[in-house]
Assembly symmetry: C2
Homo-oligomer: 230 residues x 2
């Protein structure tokens, strides 16, 4: 999609897509007009058009930027934290940490995008958002499945159901934290995740769930909070 293969052009494009992803997390992907973004970046509309031929191209580039940021900020550190139930807990904590640190100014980019497009007609933007959400749910589900295979969750455990319920705590924390500017909702989500995992885990699973730090607010991957976006 980059029409400027030289390094200056690539750098400009990268600046634009980062700003676009940030703006979309607050104003929505439909609020992402080329004119508006040009204003924010003090660029001409024609300069922006040289990089993105259409609003849809810009939206898809913003989604790709957001996906890469999400992988760096949530997925990669959590996958490094361990396997099975430890990983599942780390994925949840990495998500809450990413919301808390304001990796996107408007909260989770994908939560906003899903809420914006869930009821709209199919199209490339909506399809891409649905794929990204599916990848996230599959990542949670796979960790739950591994935990079951490792005997950390009982044989009758339903990995998709568990992923769905954990996602509920995470999404709700994202919305309410921003709506009421109240970090107490992040603590509620941490309690919910911990209780849900401990409640279903076998004795081996409970041993694998590292105890929360003394604040009672940070979970297994609390140290992720130090891994800030550059």
């Amino acid at each position: 999609m980059a029409r400027h293969p030289n390094s200056h052009g690539a750098q400009t494009r990268s600046t634009i897509v980062r700003a676009a992803a940030d703006l979309a997390s607050v104003e929505g992907l439909d609020g992402l007009s080329i004119g508006r973004l040009a204003g924010e970046l003090a660029m001409s509309k024609s300069g922006l058009f040289a990089h993105f031929g259409s609003k849809e191209d810009l939206q898809l580039a913003a989604i790709e930027e957001a996906r890469q940021r999400y992988v760096r900020q949530v997925i990669t550190p959590a996958l490094a934290a361990g396997s099975g139930i430890t990983r599942l807990h780390a994925l949840c904590e990495a998500f809450l940490s990413y919301v808390e640190r304001g990796v996107f100014p408007g909260g989770c980019f994908f939560a906003s995008a899903m809420a914006e497009f869930d009821a709209k007609a199919p199209g490339p933007v909506r399809d891409r958002i649905a794929e990204c959400q599916q990848q996230w749910m599959t990542t949670l589900e796979r960790a739950a499945r591994d935990a079951r295979a490792q005997g950390q969750l009982p044989a009758g455990s339903d990995p998709r159901q568990l992923a769905f319920e954990l996602e509920g705590a995470l999404l709700t924390a994202n919305w309410y934290f921003h709506l009421y500017a109240d970090p107490g909702y992040l603590s509620r989500a941490r309690r919910a995740v911990q209780a849900r995992l401990a409640g279903e885990a076998t004795a081996a699973g409970r041993r694998a769930l590292r105890p929360a730090p003394q604040t009672g607010q940070a979970g297994a991957a609390g140290d992720l909070a130090t891994q800030r976006e550059q």
Copy 2:
């Protein structure tokens, strides 16, 4: 706000706000331009302006219409279903039924509105959405508190935490049901609600939770599904 106190004017205004609330559930409250709505209703923009002087007036009227519809479709039937844990379960089921029946074409109006405005600057529209969400959470919390007072939940139960976790299942069902057009997510939410309530309930609480019908999909207030919007 109605500038046409006569009955024809009131009827026109009512038609406009119903259409506005429906449209906003799909396109967002910011997508609710007077021009667009005029096009949908085959009215002139000036005719619409006679009822709503500004976009903000129209947005606030759509929220009030949505609030009343929510009360009729979710709150009132659930409050009639009983008290304590029965009511708490009925509130959750009434919400899921309201999503399932498509009371708003774009899914829960307030979930969409919260997602759209959670990270935006304060203002009358955002404030009103935050108040409505707070009323809903307080309704859930009060039912949980009553359940605790009635001995259906243990003395150490945290009504706000329980309300938060139930809300997580409901919101997530709303988004995923629409994103993937898959009613299985409503079933997952019903399972989550039932398990969460039964898991925390005392023996008296579990007796008060009516058993789910044979499908395993409808909860205490499954008969709400027959109470359709006229």
